[in-house]
Assembly symmetry: C2
Homo-oligomer: 345 residues x 2
Amino acid sequence: MLDFAEQPHKRKNLLTGDHILVSPHRSKRPWQGQVEDLAPDNRPQYDPKCYLCPGNVRADGTQNPDYKDSFVFVNDFSALLEETSVEQFNEENLLIAESERGICKVISFSPRHDLTLPQMDLPAIKAVVDLWQKEFQELAAKEWIKYIQIFENKGSIMGCSNPHPHGQIWAESSLPVEIEKETTQQRAYFKQHGRTLLQDYVAIELKKDERIIIDNEHFVALVPFWAAWPYETMIISKRPVPSVLAFTEVEKEDFARTLRELTIRYDNIFKTSFPYSAGMHQSPVNSGEHPEWHWHMHFYPPLLRSATVKKFMVGYEMLATPQRDITPEQAANTLKQQSTIHYKG
Amino acid sequence: MLDFAEQPHKRKNLLTGDHILVSPHRSKRPWQGQVEDLAPDNRPQYDPKCYLCPGNVRADGTQNPDYKDSFVFVNDFSALLEETSVEQFNEENLLIAESERGICKVISFSPRHDLTLPQMDLPAIKAVVDLWQKEFQELAAKEWIKYIQIFENKGSIMGCSNPHPHGQIWAESSLPVEIEKETTQQRAYFKQHGRTLLQDYVAIELKKDERIIIDNEHFVALVPFWAAWPYETMIISKRPVPSVLAFTEVEKEDFARTLRELTIRYDNIFKTSFPYSAGMHQSPVNSGEHPEWHWHMHFYPPLLRSATVKKFMVGYEMLATPQRDITPEQAANTLKQQSTIHYKG
Ligand SMILES: O=P(O)(O)O[C@H]1O[C@H](CO)[C@@H](O)[C@H](O)[C@H]1O
Ligand SMILES: O=P(O)(O)O[C@H]1O[C@H](CO)[C@@H](O)[C@H](O)[C@H]1O
């Protein structure tokens, strides 16, 4: 028998087809490396210098409206531009490039500068979910857009340059690398079984109940069997829907509830505003039917040992295979033991 | 014409088959995010508390010899273990795992606690190359080992917990994810052309001379066309050899020279000890012929704007596609303009 908690082993990521390495005995190693600074955690409700606060003026001179729940605008420093001509570049099949069109948006989750998702109430989070759905619909209406990436970078350790609660949406003219991989894997499974990969995966996880953190009517939150980051999780819809567009009112409420509970549990682990990059993976748009695609959301949080000691995905991880120390089962246990009331009360 | 310096575009990584996104206009964005602490840069030649300094006692009670150039030992906190039984785990093809055997070693590059590779003289670096070759040979002699990853994490920002100049070697019983990908890509090319992919790639790069940093008799150092990290580079042997094992005396000297010059140029960019993860990619061992495999070494440095502002590979990058701001050509130019004499003299 393979002993997950003692033996070094590899696990297969069903969504990408790649492997990860688990070294459970390694968490005993003492840490003498870099310790992060804790960002100050006493922000005002309104910051006159913040480009996301209501009424403030942004870099390009635009004034933010006096918004009441969430607010969306095109990123003043977009990585992708809508006005880009379609160009190809190929020299001897060795230097291969092509232009990429896109739209980058910023979503402020709340007018309150001092909050984060887990500190917002349910109706406020539900308003963010509504806006995500609306944005997805509007962007998907543009024929040239093939994929819409909705995500959040939270915490300065994740390169987030403004603590005001916000996320981003990047919509673009071709499929990102991770979406290509997940499409291939899900398509192969659907073709063979006539069910989505995540339908069957959720079923076996619910049966085993070793990595489930939240299980409500329409969603589960779990530590995937193949998690690479210490406290990596996924939210998966129980209904196999291709995108956020398909969520009903009741599902949107349940999703908001799941988001709130998961992020509260995260914050409670180290009694800190838990940093992460999180984002939905969903079906490509304007490119035929995708019955294989099953909506889900990934959370990639960097912390390992404490609020200030993170996992470094470097060296062996960059050159060879992502590697983790604590097992996914240990991480799930820790998350399950947390209170569903935020430590700040 | 695709304008690399102005238009957002994707480039294809020939070695992995994946793409990266270039957003050249984006470097104009102001930075308000996390700034790293600079590690103190005045280390003593000998540190009585360092587990790599000659004569010191390590965590497990072993005493380091009084070594004169480089020194290798099995990692006291190895992520892979030699004594691990071979086990498989598979539940309904949804939860898939198997045990992984391996050996993790640490190589001290120098008895001097205060040096780094670019500050060592040529004979000392050549001694490290000799040891890498010897280690590769010894590890490859074990039938069960299929791949040997030689690498270095440099700098606390890269999770390196000891500033004493050192690298690591992880040898294991199956192929890492990145090596699987590079094998697939190189094999397909070799099958079609009867030459290695990197042979032809180096030829076109030398012809164009837009991304070449160093070009000596046996090696080139360049910013790959598909570099993801701001100052990512590769050293490639001109002769298509599968591994470090094939290097002749002259090649090893030239490799040491290339290593020294490249890392000096790195340090000179921001007048700082330039952090990176670097490592050789080479042929799997004990698994048949690999005529497609062409030895090379990757450098993945995180810095973007200064000694303290790095590129964050988060959010969109983790969920979608790696993204860069400055172009590979701009990075190559900066590296080319650096002096080959270390800024510390
Ligand atoms: O082995 P070290 O230096 O203690 O640890 C460092 O390198 C390892 C191999 O790249 C990584 O797995 C660790 O996350 C990193 O902190
Ligand atoms: O867009 P921001 O928040 O300025 O920037 C942050 O998120 C982006 C998208 O994930 C990344 O490309 C940047 O490296 C990161 O610093």
